[in-house]
Symmetry: C3
Subunit: 204 residues, 3 copies
């Protein structure tokens, strides 16, 4: 189990790093200065989990208790600053880690909510909030309409992965396997959605 916990932690950190890069690049497009880029990277990387923690009452919020999160965010901003062109070439790798990160953030956020005794329905919702609200806050702070409100079935993939995890934990409690399977569901739906240009219907 401790090996698995280490892997989970590592992926969590790498996911945070990739999210932070995406925030720093968004700041770069808006011509924010390096401080603004730092804030946007921080908000993108930990904003979803922060909102979840504030709503469920788990404060001080998570990233304040482990400085590694802040460290990789600072590293991400510096790397974006000095090696922007190299990063843009790594788009495909970034997309991979971004997608894995979203899957992991969903299940971790879900588990944290369940652990506080809240309903599985709320836990699935908070899992998705953990994964996607960093991007929403990034867009609001950049004065853009949040991307996920209009494109991709990003958040829906998280809800589906969370639902899968909760159902299988109920039928057959095997946390690690169900976690991996839940993450796989998120990744699969998202990758298919991007490849096949799936989108959700609009209210007309």
């Amino acid at each position: 189990m401790s090996v698995i916990a280490s892997w989970i932690y590592l992926i969590d950190i790498v996911g945070t790093f990739v999210f932070a890069i995406s925030g720093a690049l968004a700041a770069s497009e808006k011509r924010f200065d390096i401080f603004g880029a730092g804030i946007l990277a921080l908000v993108t990387a930990v904003g979803g989990g922060t909102l979840r923690d504030v709503l469920i009452g788990s404060t001080p919020v998570g990233w304040m208790k482990d400085l590694n999160y802040l460290a990789v965010i600072v590293a991400a901003v510096l790397i974006s600053f000095f090696f922007k062109h190299h990063i843009l070439k790594l788009r495909r790798t970034m997309f991979l880690f971004d997608t894995i990160g979203i899957g992991l953030f969903t299940i971790l956020g879900l588990q944290k909510t369940l652990a506080l005794g809240l309903s599985p329905v709320i836990a699935i919702l908070m899992g998705a909030v953990s994964a996607v609200f960093g991007g929403v806050l990034r867009d609001v702070l950049s004065n853009e309409v949040p991307l996920i409100f209009r494109k991709e079935i990003y958040a829906t993939a998280c809800l589906a992965g969370g639902l899968f995890f909760v159902l299988f934990q109920w039928i057959w409690p095997a946390p690690v396997i169900n976690m991996l399977a839940g993450i796989a569901v998120v990744i699969t739906i998202r990758a298919l959605a991007v490849r096949r240009h799936w989108s959700l219907p609009v209210i007309r």
Copy 2:
């Protein structure tokens, strides 16, 4: 008293439903997909109470503890999706419940704040926040300047109703009657404001 409590709960749920419809319709105008509409409906319906709960430290926030709120919000999104044209015809009925909802949310938010031992002044403010901040968050997420900052004396009606309730509770403590009277004050001011095109002065 339990009959009254049931009525309060029912109006609370109906108010939440009507607020959620207004969020879903706003999403429709912005051409958000159905997931975006769900988020906007959720934020509009429970955003004010959520902000109040976070500020006064009553977490997990209210709607997480009673799934009926989430259920009527999901219902509101589905109904907006399938019956948008019918809903638009019910504008007058919607306005009625919206106004009653605002009145009730104000007094309930106020009472919750008082119950935590905070000052009546803060409680009146938090009552108004409960009632109007869902709409503010809806506008911020839609990348609009919040409507209430420019139009109607919406929030002022809530502050007046809250002040009325606090004063009469102090003079003559009769929670249910003062509550109904406070809600009536909110409704009256708002209805008059809309009918007579009242507005607050602007700083020039």
Copy 3:
């Protein structure tokens, strides 16, 4: 010490007042009504400290426990409303108190975070959040790209002042002197930055 505490409290209140004036003036430019101006003044004045309190879990948030903050904010809105032209002439004085306020808010926010047992790194960050996020929230609610993401090394001055305070407290614990010195660092960097048009580099 109690004399010093009184001075700190007085500067805190004056800083809150000046921040509230800046919020009310921003509302005036956007032609918000007086209620909108009140909200924007409130958010500008106490938004940074409120965000800090919510993130570190110190709720009910600070300004709810001492009505003097609310009182000076209301006063600031009324004064902005009736004497806008006089205020605009006092720009230089306002800038002075605004800068002193930012310095003080930084150190007070830092100390509050440290007192909860969080790491000095987090405390420095929360000090800066206390000082600058009121302005960020003001800009988001006015539907503007937050100014500090693009201009001045405003927040950097706060981080530097906070770092200075933490380092000197570690080397030579003398809270009052280190506090004054930390505030002086914030003021100096900010004044120099404005005068010499310093700015941070942009990611290209």
